[in-house]
């Protein structure tokens, strides 16, 4: 029954990614198209540290911290930009980070990737998929819990007010830049631990796992579920992870299956934007808002 557990682990990892992106994109209104880069930074940080002999627990925390730091560095210039410009700038940073992962051969082995990453171990080794699933589920639940506490606190209400009307939030004396930065850093940090979990579960990483396509997949999950809805993100992840799975049982070359899967995500997003931009369980906010 390894297959079911594998799917559940993948769902847990994507839940962390989707919930962390939802904090940035759904609650704060910052369209971040570089989320896969934070995922990749977490994965590489954790993989390289454990291969250098650092225990998994410390590498796991390091992936959280390093991805958060990159969130801060990217946020410094990018958060001054508005909406679509922010999106393109984060996309640019995501691609720069991927170019570095691909070309800094002495550190990352470039396109060859890093094989033989040790399995996660934290007092006990999560060597079977059941053990790893328990670990992944715990981390996913903790992530949802923390983000949920954040967005339902006064802090979260400020984030939503920035999303709704940044100038009004500023007029109320809120340091908009600071709040945006905190949301971005926390979101990036959680994407980092998702990366660490991915690296130590698959035990192999290469730059092709952290591309724009991956970001679009995570964006699709968040948008499908509904921007600003944590339950929605979980539902969006489950649907989009399971939806292409039947393709696995069709006798087709894997390149074709990958292309069909990408196309499926693209069509879902395009149709969703026209029919129901607020997603499945999202609030009716993103619809028909005319901007000056």
């Amino acid at each position: 029954m390894g297959y079911i557990e594998h799917l559940l682990i993948i769902i847990c990892i994507y839940i962390i990614l989707a919930v962390s992106l939802n904090l940035i994109m759904g609650f704060t209104g910052l369209l971040n198209l570089g989320h896969a880069a934070f995922f990749g930074i977490g994965a590489y940080t954790s993989a390289l540290l454990t291969l250098a002999g650092v225990p998994f627990g410390i590498a796991f925390i390091a992936s959280f911290v390093v991805a958060g730091m990159f969130g801060f560095l990217i946020g410094l210039p990018c958060l001054r930009l508005r909406g679509d410009y922010l999106a393109i700038a984060t996309l640019g940073f995501g691609e720069i980070i991927r170019a570095v992962l691909k070309n800094w051969i002495s550190l990352t082995r470039g396109p060859l990737g890093i094989p033989g990453i040790p399995k996660a171990s934290f007092f006990i080794t999560f060597d079977t998929s059941v053990k790893f699933l328990v670990f992944a589920a715990v981390i996913a639940v903790v992530t949802i819990g923390i983000v949920s506490r954040l967005v339902h606190s006064p802090f979260g209400r400020v984030l939503k007010s920035i999303r709704e009307d940044e100038i009004a939030a500023q007029a109320l004396g809120k340091n908009v830049m600071k709040y945006k930065m905190i949301a971005l850093v926390i979101g990036a940090a959680f994407a980092g631990i998702a990366g660490s979990m991915y690296a130590h579960y698959i035990t192999f990483i290469d730059p092709s796992s952290f591309t724009l396509v991956e970001t679009i997949l995570i964006v699709s999950m968040v948008v499908l579920g509904g921007l600003g809805s944590l339950l929605g993100s979980v539902i969006g992840v489950i649907i989009l992870v399971l939806l292409p799975e039947p393709l696995r049982f069709v006798q087709l070359p894997s390149a074709i299956v990958a292309a069909i899967r990408q196309m499926l995500y693209a069509i879902i997003l395009i149709v969703l934007m026209i029919v129901r931009p607020q997603g499945m369980v999202g609030e009716k906010r993103y619809k028909a808002r005319v901007e000056e």
Partner: protein, 293 residues
């Protein structure tokens, strides 16, 4: 000095393609105020349509080019009508998400139809270059530059002197007022997409002929074309042309200093730098407020 001359020549030739693609970005942005990220994929599809017609069906490359231009015009038209038009009055991020999704859609479509192999539109063997001011330039490269310049001048004349061109400038300036004085907004927007897509198709064919084509060629071109548009001040046609040549030159001279694996990252770097330091571009008007939060 041969190397410097060569890098400058390569930069100008690459830049002319970037400028063609940048024009499509800047025209759509000028009218609809959103980034049509799928524009680079239209360029890619243009190259593939020409490939199917001229290599697949064995017809003349000129026929292939014409079919590619017409095909991309249809793709651009349908893209706007089906995916973007319903979103015209939604929050600005919605069409951007659609644009990214469309880009992924076209890319995977090309992957399904044509496979991931690298192909080329060229049938003859490698051309010998000729020496111009110390740089080696092939006849194809001269053709690229010539065609691009002719198209840019043509676009200038079109925008300046034809009725539709004037309507486009009016809609870009103020859509509501333009509609009040009787300009058909829907038709003008369609025309913007069609013309931008046709220019991108020509760019795709030229690159497919000089170098090669693959399904991911649109993504890096998207970034370069968009960066060129931002450098020139997005919405500004002439800025986009200058931006295109600037990106081509910076990129080609840049690989003299940094490893060539980072060539694509140069455009991103310029893009982020521009967005942060001078988001209205070098020739942009008063769009500063529109770009900063």
């Amino acid at each position: 000095m041969g190397v410097t001359a060569q890098l400058i020549a390569n930069g100008i030739i690459a830049g002319s393609i970037y400028a063609l693609v940048a024009l499509g970005y800047t025209m759509v942005y000028g009218v609809l105020k959103f980034i049509n990220f799928a524009h680079g994929e239209v360029y890619m599809l243009g190259a593939y349509i020409a490939w199917v017609v001229s290599i697949g069906l064995g017809l003349n490359i000129i026929v292939g080019t014409i079919v590619a231009i017409l095909g991309c015009a249809v793709i651009g038209f349908l893209m706007e009508k089906i995916a973007y038009k319903p979103l015209r009055y939604s929050s600005r991020l919605i069409p951007l998400i659609t644009a990214i999704a469309l880009s992924l859609f076209f890319q995977s479509l090309a992957l399904l139809l044509f496979g991931a192999e690298v192909r080329t539109l060229r049938q003859s063997s490698v051309e010998s270059g000729m020496q111009i001011l110390g740089a080696s330039v092939t006849p194809t490269q001269i053709m690229i530059l010539g065609v691009s310049i002719v198209l840019m001048v043509g676009l200038h004349v079109f925008l300046k002197y034809t009725k539709m061109g004037k309507a486009m400038r009016a809609v870009a300036d103020n859509m509501q007022v333009a509609s009040v004085i009787g300009i058909n907004i829907d038709r003008t927007i369609s025309a913007v997409f069609i013309i931008g897509s046709m220019l991108a198709a020509v760019g795709g064919v030229l690159v497919g002929y000089e170098q090669n084509l693959n399904p991911t060629m649109g993504v890096s071109m998207s970034i370069k074309g968009f960066t060129a548009a931002v450098v020139g001040g997005i919405g500004n046609i002439y800025g986009a042309v200058i931006g295109g040549f600037a990106i081509g030159l910076i990129e080609n001279i840049g690989i003299w200093f940094i490893p060539s694996g980072y060539k694509d990252a140069i455009a991103f770097f310029i893009l982020v730098l521009m967005l942060v330091l001078r988001p209205q571009g070098f020739f942009g008007g008063k769009t500063e407020e529109a770009t900063r939060g």
